[in-house]
Structure formats: structure tokens, C-alpha cells
Symmetry: D2
Subunit: 389 residues, 4 copies
């Protein structure tokens, strides 16, 4: 099939910038049905060496140190914002104003209000949007969505979601931008819980109200050496500074559809490495999933088993959504970056059709509204309704 | 070692009455160090055939249909109350008044207030007490307690506890006494969450405040045929009646020691069969346990592993508390009833020493105070402090 | 139901003697349908203190230091031989000659030939027999047997069985009787592989031919201090002596029914604690089980799952054989000794009916014939047919 | 780093041809230290449409329908043979004769003798070689190799390896070339067991002798519709033909280093989907791995754990070999094709250095010698020494 080329520009060439570059380049091969073929036009990073190296490594036609060059590039039709959170607002508004389709990594705004501002701007500009809620694209998660949609679990009763990682578990790890409210906005609630909220709403529908709690367990950390913002860096001695956003957040949620839930996120946990997971329960069954074992899920159907009921461990296979684009069989697993390819494919499909897909900025805004209610509940110490922003 | 005999009377010879009878009889063999040897004196059940059958089956000297006979029996020094919840108040008060040491199955009172009343009466009578929080006696759980106490996990950060069973998951299962507020008091919060609260407090300390939510998913059920109160019975057709206590409860908790938690319980879940479990996290490690795999736990210690960190699956062994009384090696597992033997052993040790042990009515009262705060939060829709009752 | 009493005598009051004593005592309670009620008449152990302590602990009417007293006791109708292997021959022949029903712990003989001699004697005496292949009694294993018998797995294709324990993994652990050919006979092939062969034949039928290999990895060990035969004892320094039977055995087997198999056993393994398990495969499905998680099994049925095939983790429940005698629900597990109660129940049922049950000495003999062929193959270095002994 | 370009030609553009094309293209990005950059020069497939589609999809400069064009192409320095087994001999000999470096998918020859012929030809031609034993490249497997090499497990005692897949489990699946001796050569012994033997020897060293058994459970299958060779195709009705190579093979092995082993492979299994795994045991510990959960392994070290020994579930991370080229953290997993990128990287490194790496044709030949001994043992029904071919 002859494909139409579409120009891609990327702002921010840290690790995530590279992941997206690879992903967009891979779509045409992995998804032959996609009518668009991504062309890597320009990448930008304020660190010149990083920009140039990325250009060469991923095959961009050009590179720049100012993000404006990406947006101004006439060949660029789609802008991917993979820069740190504190750059999202300015870059996203500019890209939307320039009429570019727009992917911005989560959490789009540093605060719910900022996310709302960005979402509104994109909508007014009439551009198509996407965000990096990549875990939802795991074939197992999409299969869970199908099974729930088909009613196999019956009406949902309760839902338990979480995102547990330990990237800040070492007290000697430096105060990167992610740990500072001014630069990152929310802490675990933004960086991590956003994924958990997105997945919860995708599977169990919109949230009516919430009540939460939060803590910053490690109160201060070593100041980072300038130019070394890596949030894995570790440092002993030297000046310390206050961590200004939360390490942990837990919340009860009430879904509009009648289900009850618990959501948690933590960035200083010891044990789980990448436990992004859920258990979703209905009157007729349940499903469990954990990103640490991305290529499988556990399924319990009350109608099955008779004498021998139990959770079935299902390895994803080409029978499940998206799996077949990457692997010919069950038990032959996808890797993390394949989720980003699926994300890119879905965004390109949305652009090709002109129909806003999911998860766009409307989804991010819905997540931000839940975050906003959780934040309010921290102060009021009571249930808070999820309100439009 | 020559042992002193101590007379046991049991009120209520349903399944749980039998479990206790066996357990007390087994202590002398399993725990040769216990100076007391239980003598099964008298058992009572309002159903005469059940009382007589139990007498013969377990070897009681006599049986009765009125529980007063148990308390009045001069040979009875310890009364075990294993009757349905609605009989706890009257029997416990009478036993305490008669100066008998007293085990009452959880949840002692139908409501927190009733539990407080019973606990006060026992304290005033100066009798020693115990309750059936049996899951805490699993060697894996006691080992977790040791490890936390030794500081191996560092200061605790968060705790996740739950009790998920499906005994009422079938909508056709009858409206047993457990599902009616008047007879059972609380639903999942009393019957199930009590275990989860006890375990949470044993491992992570007292609770400062809570906020919860609850639901009765199956609103009405078939009326039970008189005399068939088994809560597993299923019935189609016939009159229906309202379920008057909750199927599900979830809560956020704040521990006094600084940790944060989530507790949940459900009696209509599909999938988990007996998922009584926790994950407890500290700054240096974590432990996971689930009663469905009672004889093992998972341990993560940040100090270990270097290049190869991970959760270690530990099979309990004679190196762990109580295990050696039942099994000569790791991987040679205990059964559920062995936990009751450990419970009985601990109560007899408490009686032998004259020192109130754990979990006595003070523990039950502490649990009830948390339940009371959760119930209040259902109405106020806000965090509620745990207060003395 | 009025039960008939039947007198039990036990020879050898080490750990295993106690396990049997408890088990026979528990049958009447656990299995009300059993018409016989075991009466503990007499126990014998050459160590007088051990005999007396056991008498008191388990409630035998009398005790002795000579095993002949057990067999001579007119009240004894059933003799349980739980003494070390080197006493099996003499005691079993005497018991059979005295017309007593007879349980002898596995491996009945030190060598296949000795087993054959004992089996013949019992058959000629017309007594009923039993042996301690206890792992086969796990509800999960019995359920596997049912499922295979019902054809749910289709014709069997291959079978993988094993028994991995580490009781001799420490090179400093002493040279107990189990590690000496003269006293124990075979090593891992007798002590451990016998269970694996029994289970394989119970599930997949008789074996036609075998080829095996073996090794004694730890060639010599500290000589045990007299009177301290415990095979867990550890000792440093002092004289060493040769280990005269094998630590490890592996074998390929060809079943008469057409399936293919692998069997292994090891007593010096590091990692598995009590990995007594199998995977059995047929053209339509498979089952996996491991004693370390005794109360569950994994079931794969090709006919199920459609889009979502997978192994189902089934927790045993009262719907499975024998489970309900010990536990009221799924996920409420049995302990190791409960398997011995089931064994005792089955032997008493056999005695009550007068019909030889399984596993009797005919089963042990069939196992011994496989062992004999494996031993021959060690020498001939080729496949050996399983022959009648 | 400025890289030197190296021309790649691929013969056979079925699924595996695509996998290699992607893999070689990805090396420069994933492994910046590699001095060579693969240039996709030419691909060939006898089906013209497939050749052209592959050219476009993967970006080859040209394509052809005759494999000779690949070898004749002066820009091609490395030939990858990913055609069906029956084409290996002719193509590999021609490539070697032309002085091209050469990767040939396993099993290189249809028979051990054919493999020996190819290996000799390559050696005489002085070209560097590689083969597709890709599972060995999983970071977990390479970490196992390191741990064994460092002596962490102590001297090895026994090893259990297997490759269980069900691609032919449906009796209606057609008689593809893989199931015919003339075209594929060996069945499960070649296609599957080759991986298991390679992994066993990489981890536990060379094999001294073997004894095996084999079976073709499904004796005949539907004849494939010409041009539809996919071994997943299913067909009902129509003519049937004999399956001429084995579905299952099991073997005992004796390693030269003193360890004992069991190896198995099956292509008609029901349950395991891609169970490519091993358990390797030494006197001080053990490691378990299964490709179905590729990104983790289980590690038992006797020196650890003290009171709490157990298998540690380790999620691979950038601390482990190759992982960091694909993922920034533990629990963020690689996919199957990433193993092929590692394979390509290693082959390019070998070419860059001029030093023959592993696994080259010498490794394949060593595997073939084990296969040859297994085949001999099928006929002689006895242990067979592994001999040079």
C-alpha cells in the first residue's frame, strides 16, 4: 500500500524522546494498514550535543537547540513534546497555535489547571492530540477492556489500581526536576497516578468522587549537580534541599457506573520494580494484570470451571489486540517500547481519519479532574466530587 | 512434664465449635511445653442432635442444649463462645460474671458499642480473654512481625491489607444470619475486615484516623428455610428479603506511627477464594503474604541482592514461629486448623501465666474502635479519628 | 453411627510413628462414615524413653521396647511399621506371620528383592496391607487422577515427575542410616523416587521399561554420634565415612499405555524445599502440581479458553476428594499430616470391607520392580524392561 | 562514533527474514559502541511478491527471487540464511565459497552430518559464522551464565532443560515442511531441542554421553495446499500423509564436567505456550528461567537467607547483560525481537574484530554431535557417547 508521508518533530531528546522517535519510525513496518508513514523531520534539545546525537541516531533530517524551530518547521505536521513537565505549557500552546497535531507526554500540565489550559487551547485550534498513557496499550490490558465491554465480568463491583516504582527510593538520589513542584507540578499523583487513573477510567468508566491521602517520606534530598538531571543519579554529601511534591498517594474512588475503587502510587517503594497493575472485579468474574509481567493476565470467569474454578493465566497472543503486529505466537512477548509503537500507530490512525482518538487531551483533562479532586480532598479531609475544569 | 488439667466448655457446636474442640485437645501433643492440658467438659448447642453428636465426636464429658449449663458447670474454667454473633453479648456477659476465662469468636459484638460493653465486663470481672483472629498465627505472619520488629524493613511507609472471600457471591445464596444487621451486626466490616484490621495493627501499629466506603451489591436474597442457616446454602424461587449489612468495605487509614494504609474486605468477590493478605512496606524492604498460600511469604530486603535484587519466596520452616510444632521441614505445610491450635496454645499459656495475652478483648476493642470510625466516616463522608469507646 | 473398635500397634516412635498415631486417632472424627475406630493399643521403640513418652503423648494403652510385644499383643489387629528401613524385613514378616494387617512405611524393603519377599509373605498370610505413599492423597492429586480417568486430558503423551528435597544438602550433615546402603538400601531411588514412581504409575499407568543414571555427589560425611540418628544433624570435624547410596537419580521411562516420561529425585538439592511434583500431558490438556503448594493445582484444557487459553490455578475445595473432611472451603488449606489421616482412613476402609485397597504391598512391589529395572540400567547402561520380581 | 557500513543480504523473507532485517537495522541505535553499521543491501525470496514487499518494508536497496543474486552481490559482505531447512546446505556452501560471513538459522543442517559438512565448508573458507540460538541472549540467561561462571552455584550437579511449544498440537494442522524429514530433517530434536542443547552446553559445558527416546504422537496430517506452507494452517478433510519426523524427544545427558541432566522438547504439547526453560543446580544454589517470563529469573543461593532462605525472583535490569540497551529499568521488559538484535550485535562485533564469536558453526556442530548421539541411542536403546562428526 502506498503510504502518505507525515512530518514529525520532537521536542526534548532525553530517553523518552528517543523512545518516541523509534516508535514513529516503526509504525509503517509493524502496522502495514496504517495509511501514514512517519518522516522524522527535526528534533530539538537545549543541549546541543544531545540534539545532534539524536538526529544521527534516529535519522532526523535536521536538529535544533530551540524548540521553536520544531514548531516553525513547515514540514512538521505532528509535534511530539517529550521535554520535562515545566516546558509543556509553553511548547504545547505554541504547537497548537501553529496548527500542529500534538502529542504531549503525561502529565500534560504541572497542575490540573495547566492541563485544562492546554487542552482548551488544542481544542480551539482544532488540532488532534494524544498523550503518553502507554501502559494501556498492552495487549493484555486491551483484552481486559474487551472482556469488560462484552460483559464477561458482569457489572463491575470494585477496582484496585496502582503504580509502584522505586526510582526515588534511595534517599541519596538527587532532587531532580521530577521532585520539585515548581518544575514538575504534582509528584506521584502526576507522574505515576495519572497512568493509574487513566487505566481505571478506561476500564471502569468515569469517576464521580474521591478522597485521598499523600506523604513525602523523604523530606529532603541532595541538590543535583547542574546539567545532570537524571532522576536515577545518586549523590552523597553536599547541600540538601526540600522535596516539594509527594512520594506517595492513595485514594478511594467512587465510579459513576456504580463500582468502588482504590488507587495508589508510590515512587519510593522497595520491592516492586514496575508494578503498574490492576484487579478489576465484577459480579461474574475478575481480571488481574501487572506490567512486570506485561505479556500475561489472569482471568477468572464464574461461569467456568464448575468443579475446578480458578484464575487462568493467559499469555497474550495474536488473538489479542495488537500482539500479532510484533509476535507470531503466545508466550513470545512484546517489550516496553512496543507499547509506544502501538501508541504512535493509534495517533497516526487518528490523524489519517481526522477523528480524535484516545487518549487525547480530553482524556488527560478527565484524569486531571480526578487529580484535582484528590488534591482538594487532601486539604478538606473529605470526599470531593470530580468537577469540570 | 506433668500437666495441670483445665476444663473447657464450648457454646455453639457448628463448624467453628468443632474446630475449637479439636484445637484445644491438640495443644498438649503439639506444644509439650504448655503446662495446661485442656479437658473437654461440656458443649452446648440449641439443636440437641448437634450437641450430642459433638459430645461423642470430640469427647466432651457431657452436652447440653442450653448454654447456661456450660457456664454453670463447676468443672469449666474456660468458656469458648462459638455461637452466632447475636448470642455473643448475653453469653459473654454471663461467662464473665461467672468468673470464667473467655474466648469469644470475632467480631465479639455485633456493633463496636456492644464489643466495648463486653470488653468492659470481662475486664471488670478480671477474667482472661481471647478472640479468634486466627490468621495472625500463621508462621509466615508471625515471622513478618519479627522482621518488622527487628527493623529489617526500616520505618514503615505504607500497608495494604484485605480479606476477600466469595461465600455470598452467588445471588441465590440465602439470607443467612450473617447478612442481617440485627443478628450479625456489621457485614463485611465485622465478619471480615476485623481480621484485616487486627493484622494491620499487629504489624503496623495503632490507627489514628480512617475514611471508608461500603456497598451492598446484592440488595436482596432468598429467605432461608428455617433450621438451615448455613451461609453456603443456595435457593431459587421463594420470597426475597433485604440484605441489611454491607458486602464490601474499603478504607484509607493513617497509622499513628506514620505509615499510610488501605484496607478492604468483600464477601461477594469472584476469583479470590480466601485471599487474606497484606503487603507491608518500609523504607528498607517489604513483605507480602496471602492465606491462599499460607505456608510462604515474599520478602524484599533492599540491602540484599546487589546486582540481583528481588522478592524472595520463603517457605516457612521450623526456623519460623510455631511451624516446628506441626512439621519437620520447609515446604511441609500446616493446615488451617493448625492456626487454631496455635491460638489455643497461646490462650492456655496466658491462663497458665495469669498474664493477659494477645489478642484479647482489648485487641478486639481496638479493632472495634477502628470499625466505629469507619462506620462514622460512611455517614460524614470525611476522615474520622479513631476514638476510645 | 456406632463404630467398631480396632486395635493399633506401632513399631518405631520417631517422628513418623507420631504422625501415624495422630492420624489413626483422627480418622473417626474426620471421616464419620468409617465403620472402624482406631484404638491405640501399644507402641514400641528400642529407646525406652521414646516409647514411654509416645505412649503418654498419643494415648496408647501400653508401650514396649521390643517390637515383638506389639505383634504378640492380642488386642492389636493392625501393625504400623514406622521404624528405620533395616527393621522392615524382620518386623513385617513377623506381623504377617501373626496374621496382623500391616502398614509398612516406604520403601518397604531395602532392595527390590526384599520388598518382593515381604509382599509375598503378606499375600500368603492373607493380611491386608498398606504403605506410606502419602503424597498421592493430596486432594489435588486425587482430582488429577479423576480428570485423567475421565479422559479430560485425552490420551496421555508424556509425564514428568520428581521429588526434590535438600535434607542432605549440607556436606556437614552426618551419615545417618538413610545414607548407608546396608541400613537403608537404596538412597534417593528408594527414599524419594519411590513416591515419584508411585505417583507416576497411579496417574499414567504401569511402566514398561526404563533407563537411568545416578550419582553420589557428596562422597563422604561425618560419622554420626551414636544415638543421634536424626538426618538433619550437622557435625564438623571428626572421622568421615563413605556415603554408600545415591544422592541423585534420573530416569527416562516408557509407560505401557504409550506415554513417555522423565523421573528424577535428589536429596542434596539447593532451592526446592519439598518439591514433590509432576506435570502430566495429554493430547487435550495437562495438569501440574507441586507439594510445596499442596492445596492447588494447575489445569490446562485445550477445549477451554478459546481466545484466552491458559493454565487455571485451582485451589482445592470440598468439591475435590477428601478436602471437605478437613476444610469448609477453597483456599482453606490442608496440612501435611492430613494426608496421613486420609491414608489411615483408606486403610481402615480396606480393613472394614476386607478388600485390599491401594497402595498396598502390590503397589510397593510394582514400584520396586521399576526401581529394580533402574538399578539394572545403571550397570548395563541401556534400557531395561520392568520385570516381575 | 563514525561507523563503518557493512552490507547485509538476506535469503528467505518469511517471518524470520523480517525479524533479522529489523534486528540488523537496529544494532547501530541500540549499541552505539558497535563499530559496524548494517546496510540492508538485498533480500531474496522465491515468491516475488514477498521479496518486493520485504524490500520496501525493511528498506533493502534491491530484491531478487533467486538466492544466488544475494551471494553474487558485491556489496554484500554478510549473508543471512533464513530460508527453510532444505535450502540451508546449498545456500550456505555457496555463501562460504564466495567468502561471505554467514549466519544460518538453526538447525543449520537437516541432519548432524549435513551440519558438519556446512561447518567444515565455512571453516575452510575462513568466513565468520553465526546461528540463531536466540534464547541464549536473554539478559536473564546471560546473567545465569555469569553467576555460574563466578561459582555462585558451586560445582554444578544437575541440569534440566526443555523447549515446549504447541505449534503442531492440533491434529488438523497441516503437514508443513517442518514435519517432513526430507525437507526439515529432524523434528523436535532439530527444530526445538537444538535450542535446549545449546543452552545446556553454554551453561553446564560439553556433553559426554546421552540416551534418549522419541515419539511421533500424531502419525498423519492433512496435506498442505501448495503455496501455503505456514505451520499454523489448519485443514479439515482432504488427503492425509505420514508425519516423518518426531513430535517429542526426551534425553538423559551426562556432562563432561560432572553434572547430570535431562533435556526434553515437544511440539504438540497442550498448556505451555513457549516454555523454553531450564533449572540449573549446583552444590551452593540454583537458577530457574522460562522464556514465557523472559525478563525474570529465580535465584537461590544457599549462603543467603539464613532464617529465611528462598528463591529470589529477579527482574532483569540495566545491571544485567544487554538489558540497558533496550530499557532503563528493572521490570521494564524486552521483547522477543530484542534478542535478535543482541544476536546481530554480537555477530557484527565478531566481524568487526575478526574473531569468531559464539554461537558460530562450531557451536552448531557441537549441538549436532549431541543430536547425533541421541539419534543413535534411539536405535541402540543404550547410552551413546557424543563423538566428533
Amino acid at each position: 500500500m502506498a503510504k502518505t508521508k507525515i512530518g514529525i518533530g520532537v521536542i526534548g531528546m532525553g530517553w523518552m524522546g528517543g523512545v518516541h522517535s523509534r516508535a514513529y519510525r516503526a509504525v509503517a513496518d509493524r502496522f502495514p494498514d496504517c495509511p501514514l508513514e512517519a518522516e522524522l523531520v527535526i528534533c530539538a534539545d537545549e543541549v546541543a550535543a544531545r540534539a545532534r546525537e539524536a538526529q544521527q541516531r534516529f535519522g532526523f533530517a535536521r536538529s535544533a537547540t530551540d524548540w521553536q524551530a520544531v514548531i516553525a518547521d513547515p514540514q512538521v505536521q505532528v509535534v511530539l513534546i517529550t521535554a520535562p513537565n515545566y516546558l509543556h505549557l509553553e511548547t504545547a500552546l505554541a504547537a497548537a497555535a501553529a496548527g500542529k497535531h500534538l502529542l504531549c507526554e503525561k502529565p500534560v500540565g504541572r497542575s490540573p489547571a495547566e492541563t485544562a489550559q492546554i487542552a482548551r487551547a488544542a481544542q480551539e485550534a482544532g488540532v488532534l492530540t494524544c498523550t503518553g498513557f502507554n501502559y494501556r496499550w498492552a495487549p493484555a490490558v486491551q483484552r481486559a477492556r474487551q472482556l469488560i465491554g462484552e460483559g464477561k465480568l458482569g457489572p463491575l463491583t470494585h477496582y484496585r489500581g496502582r503504580l509502584f516504582v522505586g526510582y526515588a527510593s534511595d534517599p541519596r538520589s538527587v532532587l531532580s526536576w521530577r521532585l520539585q513542584r515548581e518544575q514538575a507540578g504534582m509528584g506521584a499523583l502526576g507522574d505515576l497516578m495519572s497512568h493509574a487513573i487513566d487505566m481505571a477510567m478506561m476500564l471502569a468508566g468515569p469517576v464521580a468522587k474521591v478522597v485521598g491521602q499523600q506523604e513525602t517520606f523523604i523530606k529532603e534530598r541532595p541538590v543535583a549537580t547542574p546539567g545532570q538531571g537524571d532522576h536515577y543519579a545518586v549523590k552523597s554529601g553536599g547541600p540538601m534541599q526540600e522535596v516539594s511534591n509527594e512520594d506517595y498517594v492513595g485514594a478511594l474512588v467512587r465510579f459513576k457506573g456504580g463500582a468502588y475503587g482504590v488507587l495508589e502510587a508510590c515512587r519510593i517503594i522497595q520491592g516492586p520494580q514496575s508494578e503498574i497493575g490492576f484487579e478489576v472485579h465484577g459480579t461474574q468474574g475478575s481480571i488481574r494484570w501487572n506490567f512486570e509481567r506485561m505479556n500475561e493476565f489472569e482471568l477468572y470467569l464464574a461461569e467456568e470451571g464448575a468443579i475446578d474454578p480458578g484464575y487462568r493465566r493467559v499469555l497474550t497472543s495474536p488473538r489479542h489486540p495488537f500482539h500479532g503486529a510484533f509476535s507470531p505466537g503466545a508466550g513470545i512477548g512484546l517489550g516496553y517500547e512496543d507499547l509506544k509503537v502501538i501508541e504512535a500507530y493509534n495517533f497516526l490512525q487518528s490523524i489519517a481519519s481526522g477523528i480524535q482518538g484516545e487518549p487525547g487531551f480530553a482524556t488527560v483533562l478527565a484524569v486531571a479532574e480526578v487529580q484535582d479532586a484528590i488534591e482538594r480532598s487532601w486539604k478538606t479531609e473529605r470526599w470531593e466530587a470530580v468537577c469540570s475544569l
